[in-house]
Symmetry: C2
Subunit: 181 residues, 2 copies
Amino acid sequence: MLTRDEVNRRQQQSLDLFNQAGIVITPAEKERIEIADFGLGDFERTGLGVLIYVNTQRVCAKELAMLPRQTCPEHRHPTVGGRPGKEETFRCRWGEVYLYLPGDASQHRHSNPPAGRESTYTVWREVVLKPGDQYTLSPDTLHWFQSGAQGAVVSEFSSTSTDEADVFTDPDIQRFTRIVV
Amino acid sequence: MLTRDEVNRRQQQSLDLFNQAGIVITPAEKERIEIADFGLGDFERTGLGVLIYVNTQRVCAKELAMLPRQTCPEHRHPTVGGRPGKEETFRCRWGEVYLYLPGDASQHRHSNPPAGRESTYTVWREVVLKPGDQYTLSPDTLHWFQSGAQGAVVSEFSSTSTDEADVFTDPDIQRFTRIVV
C-alpha cells in the first residue's frame, strides 16, 4: 500500500535510474511508471519500477528500474487457457542484476532473498547480467532477480504480458499495488 | 555488395551511434551487427545497421543504427502461411527519425526518398519520432523511414522477424547484403 506522494517520489527515482542508463522517456511515460510493491509494503526491498512501452496481443516491451539491492520476487508465467505462458528476455542496460533460476544452486551467490521471506524463494542457480548481457527465459520457469549495489535498469522483451496470471511463490504477494488516496 | 573491410567499418559506425545513445552492446554483438544495404550498393543513402537482440518463435527485439539522412526503404510485412505479418513498434532512442505511412500526405515533410529512387516510394503520411517517441505499426502496413541530420538510434519491438518474407516496393531491392570475400 502506497500513498500518492510516495508513488510520485518513486516514479522520480525510476526516472533518475533511466536517465543514468541514457534512456529517454516522455513526461507522460513518467506518470505511467508502475511502482510495484507486490503488496508487501516494503518497496525498497521487494519492488521495482515498471514502464510498459508496448503490450499488444503479440508483443510486450518494458523498462525496469531497480533501486540498489531491490528484489523482484520469485514467480512464473504459466500457460493460461491453452495460451503458452510469457516468454521473456531480460537485458541489463545499467548497473548489475542477479537472476535466479531452477538448476544446481550456485556456490557463491551475489544476493540473498529479502530477510524474513527466505522461505518463499526456492531457485538458486545464478546468472549475472552486466550491461549488454541478456537472458531468455522459457515460459513457466520460476525466477527471481535482485539488483546490485548501484541498482539496475533492465529491458524486458516478451510475448504479451498478463501480469494478473503470474504465480508467485510467496502467498502473501498481491501483484497489483494498492494506492491510498 | 560490400567488402568485409567495409562491413567492419560500418559496424564500428553503428557501435558509435549506439554509444551516443548510451546503449551498451558486447564485443560479440558488435560482430553480429547486420550492415543492410538492401542490395542497392549505396549504403550511406539506403541502408541501416541492425542488431538483433532476440528473435524467437514469438518475439523479436532489435536495435537500429542509422547514419545521417539514411533511409530504410519502403516495405511491408505480409501474412505468410496464415501467420499474421510482423507487428512492430519503433521507439526513437537518439537523434530523430521520420516515419512514412499510408494516409493523407503530410504537407511539410522532413525528408525525401533517396534521389533517383523516388518512384519506388508511395506512402507520404509523416510521423516524427524524437527520443522517447514511439509508433506501433499494424501488420502489412507499407512504411519507410529516414533519420535526421544527426542520424538516429531506434529500438524495434516486434513479433517474430522473418526478414526474408518482407515485400519491398522497389523491385531492385534484395533484403540480404552480399559480402564479397
